[in-house]
Assembly symmetry: C2
Homo-oligomer: 204 residues x 2
Amino acid sequence: MSEKTIGRLSQYRRILKELLDQSLGNVYSHELARRAGVSAAQVRRDLMVVGYSGNPHSGYEIVALIKSISNFLDDSQVQRVALIGVGSLGRAILSQFAGNGTRLQITAAFDTSGNASSSVVTGCRCRPIEELEQVVQGEGIKVGLIAVSSTEAQAAADRLIEVGVLSIVNLTPASIQVPDYVHVENLDITMSVERAAFYARQRD
Amino acid sequence: MSEKTIGRLSQYRRILKELLDQSLGNVYSHELARRAGVSAAQVRRDLMVVGYSGNPHSGYEIVALIKSISNFLDDSQVQRVALIGVGSLGRAILSQFAGNGTRLQITAAFDTSGNASSSVVTGCRCRPIEELEQVVQGEGIKVGLIAVSSTEAQAAADRLIEVGVLSIVNLTPASIQVPDYVHVENLDITMSVERAAFYARQRD
DNA sequence: TAGATTGTTAATCGATTAACAATC
DNA sequence: TAGATTGTTAATCGATTAACAATC
């Protein structure tokens, strides 16, 4: 299963929810493709993996398709997520996830003792970093978001992996080294802006 | 020129600067590869495009290589960037770019009149959204960052493109439709976290 | 039915890696 | 020099798209 496919499924689901809000009942691959910015063949190919079939007459039934995608992507129960680093980026992420109604919940946020610790930020209790191991292990958290400074990224990853985290979103520009069994998503804002600037110059 | 190559060059430059801080004079492709998480062949292939040659004895001279990469990636003068949306994510980006010493500067930030407008956030003046056209056109800004809510993303993109922006970083989960000549970078944090959660579940 | 869309395979495309002669 | 690394091509790999019989 390709990483890109998983990402697109998440995107399709969001678009489908929008269509549902507009009181639409079904949708064709080309419409979904247009909105997601991919080809219709791609959409049909992606949707095959979630085990829901459309039909040539009416396309895909939106409600059933959302259910199938969610069934494929989501855990049957709430999945807890830990956030390391409650600076401005960490706060932004907390507020994005606060009550977003998915099965993903940031239940633990950590920062160095002096900082925002022992406070509550947009509904999430923020703890001193020293409690990381105990809380992550205690709650059985398997997903970690790293939003500390670049220099602290590797140390944060090491500590998370040590207590059982299997998947990490790295929001720093630093590349982190992890064992093969750990999944890493790199989300480097600075790099994206630099790349955007490069293309703006090229197209000028 | 592949988008991925541009991103990696930006990454190599950051790593090279780290190595320079450690008083190293030169570096081999495999060392750069290890730190960037790619193959040595990839590094050598990427470095060819910036027009700097290493040599079989001593590898790549760090100072000269940084200069070559910067010469390739950066504009000769300061490149101004506009930010739309000064919520928590917008503020996080502003603080990341405040005095980062590159040729990229966020010189204009916009938000709806009521919000943070007419204030100064981490060194950047924040203006009411109504002034967008005048300021972006006046300063000749070609790069825009969209950090508004999903529903407002398309409108923000349209307004930016209307006044000459050629490259956009879209930080919302919404996909935006743009003319062919405009470059878009999508940076969807929610999608990355969902994907990370999926893989955590798979590897458990 | 007629016609558009589906599921799915084959063809295409592009990016990554392996390999190696040239070279310091 | 000897040996490791470079620049660069060919081979591989994977992902995307084109195409089409099946189908509602």
